[in-house]
Subunit: 402 residues, 2 copies
């Protein structure tokens, strides 16, 4: 066991020289990149001009194949994709969405003139709670449901689709964190009216910035194209109400990472298993396993602190990690329903008690291109030490530093 | 004089093998690009993660210097920048904007929950008409003015600023087409509460896709950063209501084109002068010269057809050009006030009579990296021939093909 004196928070040298951040950060090799981008330079076609360029078209085709979905429309980012989807589905009123999600999910609804109605989550999986969604639907006046697949896992899509059908309400998905995940034989991307992915660098498939819409609905796909700013014969100008193009270089990067997807996914899984095994024996630490998906992309390492058993609070542990240059995160803190302007329209917080509990204890650790199994073992060693020396750390941590 | 038989519309071989499109399309040389992007690869920092990356920060600093403005915040595109500016200025009601502008100007207002109130243009310059703006201000109920600098030219900023001040209404600018232009000694970018530029590839400074906000107001700049999604200490989460980052590769491209800006601007001016001189003698063709700016970026070649003198309508001329693979454009056709959903809230069209006239006769010709003085002379030769052989062309053009 590592002694307390080895911890940077007590004066030792930090375990990592440079800050280790949460996020995937996979990226193509230079050689392939050079070939693809020299081609773009010679074509002198850098981004869509009424019509998508050759690499954007190819990227969309490959994504359709990969996801087993009829149409993919790539756009500048997932926030924008959610704005387009919400607007195109004709939603203008109340939309059910979890408060436990990246704030941009909710912001996209606001830009699209909808009112978010927050549902709670299931405490075990942190996915949307179906009883909570049902309760909100029973209350009436709901125009749509924006489902969110969190943490490289899937929400219970079958159940949500049935609920939505029973109440005659359209459902679509924010799958920003779920690219490459499956439910049964079916890839996420093919559920609901449409699904949205993020290609921001922190996600498994990166174009640095970017995202896409996926749908099996021909008419919807045409509207998505028009909303991106493409010229759609017969679509009219009125639909072209967003400017949302992805550049050719971004498409080239996405294509290369897609080629390498299996290796990346296996690397994530190996790292995730390493965390699970290293942290499995720490009292008061629970690693969230993506059990709702038959295949996960394992892009997140999410853990929950139970202070009474662990000996420190989540924020105290994050201070210990930060001193070692391990920049663990507390994503979705504070939850959307506690943030202005959403707090003004939120439900009675009593109905979001699981969200409140998750927000207290949950944190994320680095996983992806910037870490290795060896580094993960060193990260876990800090968490072990923090637990064992909690008694002597607490006075040092008295002033919250996170 | 070129004979009628040399025209492709009458069966001759098209003058250009591949379609020549309107747009600037300047781009860095491979060597500089390779050095900059290899650095990004080695840093493994591809895009902002709460804080902007080193090249985004450097690009902003260089833009501030170039524009002589205190703050520049680069974002994913100009539409997004306009949404952020409108929202941040607290505008939620009626905003004066010309109908004669790229549709995204108006769409940004709609996304930001404002109602566009269309002003007319001056027929000579095609910039916003100050008498028209004054008339709308006199009508009352106006919350803001979104000025638009069109065609590499400036609207009468001094006059507009005085009008806005007299009526106590904030004014900000869509300067998407005016990067590098000056009014007196002052660069466009430093006027009004804020100005917005586009770095889409069709503009003089390109990052393929991109744009920025410029302002001298410290508090506004902080809010812009938060709206982009940056972590702003004390700014709170509530302001972070857009996801609008520019990637490091995009910033690298922008920096290189900025380095080359003087040469590019001179190249544009030379091409513009060539068009002016070649088309000066064609009856019924007027080339718009950017006379309102003391320095123009000359990024657009805009001309107006007077059919009675030229012999063909604008659309007939465009068909003749298209047959030669010269893809001349009729930007802003139809005008915003004629397009759903804006048509429903437009003024009595009688008040937009100059806009209607401009929309009938105006077109754009290729200027920038994809053409040369020699190519421009060949383009102008087609226009000369179209005028001289108008009588024999009209029957062929009976069915509109544009």
């Amino acid at each position: 066991m590592t002694g307390a004196r080895s911890l940077a928070i007590l004066g030792a040298t930090p375990r990592f020289e440079n800050p280790l951040q949460v996020g995937q950060f996979y990226w193509p090799r230079w050689e392939g990149y050079e070939t693809a981008v020299r081609d773009i330079f010679s074509r002198r076609f850098y981004t869509s001009q009424r019509f998508a360029g050759p690499l954007v078209v190819e990227f969309q085709r490959r994504l359709e194949e990969f996801l087993g979905v009829k149409h993919v429309v790539v756009v500048r980012n997932a926030t924008n994709a959610l704005m387009i989807a919400t607007h195109t589905l004709g939603l203008r009123g109340k939309v059910i969405v979890p408060s436990w999600t990246f704030i941009a999910t909710v912001q996209a609804l606001i830009w699209a003139k909808c009112q978010p109605v927050f549902c709670d989550i299931d405490l075990e999986t942190q996915q949307m709670s179906m009883p909570s969604v049902r309760r909100l639907l029973e209350g009436g006046g709901i125009d749509g449901i924006l489902g969110v697949h969190l943490w490289g896992n899937a929400l219970p899509v079958g159940e949500l689709d049935s609920l939505a059908e029973a109440y005659g309400v359209p459902v679509y998905y924010d799958a920003a964190q779920a690219f490459g995940c499956r439910v049964g034989e079916r890839a996420i991307g093919a559920f609901g009216r449409a699904e949205v992915f993020s290609f921001q660098a922190a996600n498994i498939l990166s174009t640095a910035e970017g995202g896409c819409l996926a749908t099996n609905d021909d008419a919807l796909a045409t509207k998505f194209l028009a909303m991106r700013g493409d010229h759609v014969p017969g679509g009219g100008v009125s639909l072209q109400s967003a400017t949302a193009r992805l550049s050719e270089i971004q498409a080239a990067i996405g294509l290369m990472i897609l080629d390498d997807f299996d290796r990346i996914q296996r690397n994530n899984e190996e790292q995730h298993r390493c965390y699970e095994s290293c942290l499995g024996s720490v009292p008061g630490i629970r690693v969230l396993t993506p059990s709702g998906a038959t295949i996960s992309n394992f892009q997140h390492l999410v853990a929950i602190v139970e202070p009474a058993k662990f000996g420190l609070t989540r924020d105290e542990l994050l201070s210990v990690l930060k001193a070692e240059n391990i920049v663990a995160e507390r994503q979705f803190h504070p939850s959307a329903h506690l943030v202005s302007p959403f707090s003004a329209i939120a439900l009675d917080p009593g109905q979001l008690c699981n969200t409140a509990r998750a927000a207290e204890g949950t944190f994320q650790l680095p996983l992806g291109a910037r870490v290795t199994v060896d580094r993960i073992e060193r990260i876990c060693d800090v968490i072990h030490a923090a637990h064992h020396h909690a008694g002597s750390l607490r006075p040092v941590l008295a002033a919250p530093a996170v």
